[in-house]
């Protein structure tokens, strides 16, 4: 969308746009240093010998992959990975589907109790999780959901942020799209699938990243529901290794391992954020 202006600039000197791009690159490079440098320390720690006493400023004299290899050999690593994956992906799919349906109705349809429902959903965000942990767990336990993945997933499907965010985006869509669909005589479900969903792809991709990450890195709730070794997620499983006396190198190695799937998912989905616009732009 930000294409360099073709009309401006002559052959003699670099166009202002190109200079601006250079400045932008430098500024972003400096910011990136701040975001990435602390993480470089993590990598350094993870490949440091386990008995290195303090956090090093640079790469240690001897590098080792022992800490990282160790992570894969402890506990039920493959099972934890599987659980994390199911917990995260099932939630992403269901949350995105139900939330965009609700958001569409809340933004575009008039029905009784709409305002009340919208505010009720937003208001749930303001209730701290720690305050409802006990009632929620009692409920899940009554339903027989302790130590099950469905017990872990179900309460997290109520995602107010998703509904709220998607609604804000649907409100901004030009009315012409919906008008055209109505005149075409498209059914409600068809309008939703064929018009609304493609238009909000950038938001859905953004949200998919977040919902995935929230679940992947979530500690408190999976810890409370998944009491047994078999029902643990990777984050919880790795936390069981984080004892008071275990070396920082080991903790960092474990962190790094659980980091990698996040990176992969992010890399895949962030393309969608950009891809969405081109799709929308062509139609517009």
């Amino acid at each position: 969308m930000t294409t360099a202006p073709t009309t401006a600039g002559t052959v003699r000197r670099p166009s202002p746009e190109r200079r601006r791009q250079r400045v932008l690159t430098v500024v972003l490079g400096v910011i990136s240093l701040f975001t990435v440098a602390p993480l470089f320390a993590v990598v350094v720690l993870a490949v440091s010998p386990a008995d290195a006493p303090t956090i090093p400023y640079a790469l240690p004299d001897s590098l080792t992959l022992d800490n990282i290899v160790r992570v894969f050999t402890i506990g039920e690593f493959p099972l934890w990975l599987f659980n994390s994956f199911v917990y995260s992906t099932v939630s992403v799919i269901v949350v995105l589907l139900t939330a965009s349906m609700a958001a569409y109705a809340l933004a575009r349809k008039r029905f009784p109790g709409r305002n009340a429902l919208l505010w009720a959903i937003i208001a749930t965000l303001m209730v701290p999780l720690q305050a409802t942990l006990i009632p929620t767990f009692i409920l899940v336990a009554r339903l027989g959901g302790v130590n099950t993945l469905w017990g872990m997933i179900l309460p997290t499907l109520a995602n107010a942020q998703a509904v709220f965010l998607i609604r804000q985006f649907i409100r901004e869509l030009p009315d012409d799209y919906f008008e055209a669909a109505r005149l075409d005589g498209a059914g409600e479900w068809r309008t939703f699938v064929a018009i609304v969903l493609p238009l909000i792809r950038p938001v859905l991709a953004t949200l998919a990243i977040f919902v995935f990450l929230w679940h992947w890195n979530d500690l408190l709730w999976p810890l409370v529901v998944g009491q047994s070794d078999q029902a643990r997620t990777l984050t919880v499983g790795l936390a069981t290794l984080n004892t008071e006396t275990v070396s920082t190198a080991n903790v960092m190695a474990a962190t790094m391992v659980s980091f990698i799937p996040c990176l992969v998912i992010f890399a895949i989905l962030q393309r969608q954020i950009v891809a969405g616009i081109t799709a929308g732009g062509v139609k517009g």
Binding site: P53, F137, G187, W189, A231, V236, T243
Partner: protein
């Protein structure tokens, strides 16, 4: 729109089906009338892989000798442990037996989360060290079988003291004398974990006990730390801080050895060092530069040695009660304690079990056991810590005088004790 309804219904149904279908962790017990007992263990064995193997074997050995009981030992994490246990107790869905400290036992019992366990060890009570049983006894009933004891005593960086021409400090006076000498070299004489997240059992209380004081009165109905002894202990700490005898970040430091000033050779001694910490110190500073000594002496010699208790929760069903007693009895037996201590480096709670190893360290530590205080268990213990710790921090920062800090803490703590009195 006529299509909408079936679509919504199908989506909802598919979701629910997918969810209920994928439950690999679903633990549906109830096989062939065996009674089931679940136990939550924490990483008392520091190496995760070793710990996992140890408890799996313990589970199998127990089931071999008790075929009618299905025992499940689940390894849990220290992080957010309180939230996990309280949710389990509140929903009545979780462990039959859980490993707790005496503080926790007192707190959980007060909210009726624990059941007495006298029955489990009724013929063996004489075999346990009386102090370890006392730490778990409330109103004449035992609320946890002592599984092991930790002991913390003084570790020195001998290189520092040698270089300064000082002997190893053994009393408060020694420490006070050494502080300014070392401070000139930018070295703190003593470590102190002042972070309010840390239990005071490993920071302020040992000093309080060394001064001859107590946290609570004997009957547990009032607090007693605002005594002259309490003042002496806090004054000692504040004096050290002023003399440059404590590390700069003392108010927020945790007890971790790794990455801490003590591991960087910037602290002379640590008054409450556990066996695993000693190992880390040796790794960081060199074996020959670390020595272990007896607990520091103020008015008296004292330190903290905490027993780990296996407590029976209110989740345990009546029909599983006997099986739970069997588990408690088995795991705290002389034979099993010996195996556990060998793996974890802890000390036994029974007189018929030897110390877990030989060599000077073990000898020193078992000597230190004699002056060990198991903490002063009270249902308000942790709340009182919550009131005291910030005020100690304030005194260390010089915002309050020691006297003011203790008075303020005492006022807050008295309110807590009053509220936590059983109704």
């Amino acid at each position: 729109m006529n299509k909408l309804l079936p679509c919504v219904a199908a989506a909802t149904a598919a979701t629910l089906a997918a969810l209920t279908g994928c439950g690999p962790g679903a633990s549906t017990g109830g096989d062939s009338g065996r009674t089931t007992v679940t136990l939550w263990m924490y990483p008392v064995i520091k190496d995760g892989a070793v710990g996992k193997k140890f408890w799996t074997e313990a589970e199998a050995d127990f089931e071999k000798s008790h075929p009618s009981v299905d025992l499940t030992i689940e390894l849990q994490t220290f992080d957010k442990r309180d939230a996990q246990i309280s949710a389990a107790l509140a929903a009545n869905s979780g462990p039959d037996i859980v490993l707790v400290t005496p503080d926790q036992a007192a707190t959980y019992r007060n909210v009726r989360g624990l059941l007495p366990v006298d029955e489990a060890v009724k013929d063996q009570k004489d075999s346990f060290y009386p102090a370890t049983l006392d730490a778990a006894t409330f109103d004449g009933e035992l609320y946890g079988v002592p599984l092991f004891q930790n002991i913390n005593t003084t570790a020195y960086n001998t290189k520092i003291f040698k270089a300064a021409g000082l002997g190893l400090p053994k009393t408060w006076d020694d420490v006070r004398t050494a502080a300014p000498v070392l401070a000139k070299k930018g070295i703190a004489v003593m470590d102190y974990a002042g972070s309010p997240e840390q239990t005071l059992n490993l920071s302020f209380y040992p000093l309080l006990w060394q001064a001859g004081g107590r946290v609570f009165t004997e009957d547990g109905k009032d607090i007693a730390f605002d005594s002259d002894a309490g003042l002496a202990a806090l004054q000692f700490l504040v004096d050290l801080k002023k003399l440059g005898g404590l590390p700069p970040d003392v108010a927020t430091d945790g007890p971790k050895v790794e990455g801490a000033p003590i591991a960087a050779g910037k602290v002379g001694l640590r008054a409450t060092t556990s066996l695993p910490e000693l190992k880390q110190l040796r790794a960081a500073l060199g074996k020959e530069n670390v020595a272990l000594g007896q607990p520091l002496k103020g008015a008296v010699q004292a330190t903290y040695g905490n027993p780990g208790l296996l407590a029976l929760t209110s989740i345990n069903k009546k029909e599983n009660r006997n099986a739970a007693y069997q588990v408690l009895s088995y795991l705290t037996s002389a034979e099993h304690q010996k195996a556990l201590n060998a793996a974890a480096g802890n000390f036994p709670t029974r007189t018929d079990v030897g110390i877990p190893g030989d060599g000077p360290d073990f000898a020193t530590m078992s000597e230190a056991l004699k002056s060990a205080n198991p903490g002063e268990p009270s249902p308000a213990a942790r709340q009182v810590m919550g009131a005291l710790a910030p005020n100690i921090q304030a005194a260390l920062r010089g915002d309050l005088t020691p006297k003011e800090a203790l008075t303020r803490a005492a006022r807050e703590a008295r309110g807590i004790v009053e509220r936590s009195a059983p109704r």
